[in-house]
Symmetry: C2
Subunit: 338 residues, 2 copies
């Protein structure tokens, strides 16, 4: 993953040179990065404006004291394990402090030609959007809001499968960075203790039978408190911090999520949803449950899993039916999804 | 259908007042339209700048001598039979003398909230586009180039059916306005004597399982001469004038096409493609022919028609197969499609 143009490719190196909380002399850093001491000072200043707390003392040099937990490209990149080499989500990674909606910016970049793997992240959304025109609560600097540009060679009818791919990535990233047992409720709600912790909004622009680009937007509630949610959502929504009792390193979560999404998306391109079906079912909390799927008529039955196309299999009065879209509710209301 | 905002809703009335090639006094027109004689003069001037040839003589008044054959909203509206009341394609009708692509403008208007039934027509496209990123030859003032904004409540996978709906409308409009036996080659090529006379480019913006809007762009070669086509297309493409030996009234053709499209689209919304299947098959030239559909592996067989979802039914080695996308070629190359 590379930082977006103009963001300074040397910033990660300076951060790396300052790693470990000890003092580093200006001369030492300058030599390591192959730049002048004046250039080191300039970069330190820039990192400070971006939220890093860096001490500077004549004679001792520089020391990284801390950083606001932001979703800055260099912070996300620093958290990606060296073992993960992104196949598809290779950036650029565009960061905004505040934005109407990461999906809107990603779509606009894609329309102008941005390539597959372009990533947009924001600290805050002023017009965060969910499915079906709903809004997505997007307070500043506590959660993750990000969108990726994908250009898969698939017809529009296969795009809903990418929503399932994103669900896998979110649940796996939560499991990788916390002890929480995140579960997926078909198609792509991610739940903790039956409460929604993440949402995926997948949008596409296409010719009738060929996708031009897909924007997969993901919002994950990380450190949001009860007060960040409007009263009517407080019993239905949660965050990793609320469910786990501890704040989450947002950049580290973003890195884990992008790595999981890259990995799942590459599998999808190589083998279709069939290649991910078992991975999805391992995270899926509806299998074996009695559900009702809205529709005319509604479908009532017991979930048997998903098929190789990502359709939900519901075993009801008329045998097993494939459900490709619809809202699913548990019919035994005292149950909680885990 | 109403003219686009700012284009002057009184223009059609003035044209109506001048109908019949006779002289009309300024006072008579002013009284009929309920405006001042100075306002009549102003409107006459505007019509002249838009291509109408209007004589003005002191004492006799005004006389409509002729008009360049343009796709002006008032000219198209004047050609729509009074018996046709548009159900869905109710405008506004936006006209451009020259434009990059009518689909691009229509999509941009739709993104800004333009409603279903918004129509864009242009005399010329400087970046006319076809399917799969191909270009569409779009010389000035000889053909029809138009796009409509549709907002059907369907999932993206049903959008290819709208391409078939557009094919029906084009073929029916040609049959209604000329003696030519236009035929459809699945999915939506419209042919005259085996040569392509029209193209449809259907584009969509959607959530994964819900269409936000569809742009159906239609290009029809009307009065283009052989010289308007690049040499490599001269044996494959034709125009109504080339095939029929007589020039076509472009505004009248546009009116017939929009009326046919409105009618076919309304049927589609009411009953799905099933409601149009017979109408499609009556125009379809592949039924009974031996074809090959590209793919891995290619499908070879005899076309049995289309099904209620608009899929091509090909009867080959493995029985009848449903084809939902792909390029179809005749396997007996000496045949011509009619």
């Amino acid at each position: 993953m590379s930082a977006s143009p103009g963001r300074g490719a040397t910033a990660p190196s300076l951060l790396a040179a300052l790693e470990g909380n000890g003092w580093r002399s200006g001369a030492e850093i300058a030599q390591r990065l192959g730049i002048s001491r004046a250039a080191v000072w300039k970069q330190v200043e820039r990192l400070r404006t971006r939220g890093y707390d860096i001490e500077a003392t004549a004679g001792r040099g520089y020391r990284l004291v801390g950083a606001r937990d932001l979703l800055l490209p260099e912070a996300i990149e620093a958290s990606i394990p060296a073992s993960h080499r992104p196949e598809r989500l290779c950036g650029p990674l565009v960061h905004r402090d505040s934005i109407d909606s990461t999906n809107l910016l990603a779509a606009s970049l894609a329309r102008e030609g941005a390539g597959e793997g372009t990533i947009v992240v924001a600290e805050q959304q002023t017009a965060g959007r969910g499915r079906l025109g709903r809004s997505w609560v997007s307070p500043a600097r506590v959660n993750f809001y990000g969108s990726v540009v994908l250009r898969p060679a698939i017809p529009p009818l296969e795009v809903p499968r990418l929503t399932l791919v994103a669900g896998i990535a979110v649940a796996e990233a939560i499991r990788a960075t916390t002890p929480l047992a995140a579960a997926i409720k078909w198609p792509n709600d991610v739940l903790l203790d039956g409460r929604k912790v993440a949402g995926v909004l997948t949008e596409l622009e296409a010719e009738a039978d060929r996708v031009r680009f897909v924007i997969v937007g993901i919002g994950v509630n990380l450190n949001a408190t009860r007060e960040h949610f409007p009263p009517e959502l407080r019993d239905k929504a949660t965050s990793l911090a609320l469910a786990g009792g501890a704040p989450v390193d947002r950049a580290a979560f973003a890195a884990a999520l992008l790595a999981a999404l890259d990995d799942a998306y590459a599998s999808f391109l190589a083998g279709g949803f069939a290649a991910l079906r078992q991975r999805y079912e391992a995270l899926h909390c509806l299998t074996g449950r009695r559900v009702e799927v809205d529709g005319k008529p509604p479908i009532v039955g017991t979930v048997r899993g998903v098929d190789d196309d990502g359709a939900l299999l519901v075993d009801g009065a008329g045998g097993v039916q494939r459900v490709v879209s619809g809202e699913v509710t548990l019919t035994t209301t005292y149950e909680t999804l885990r």
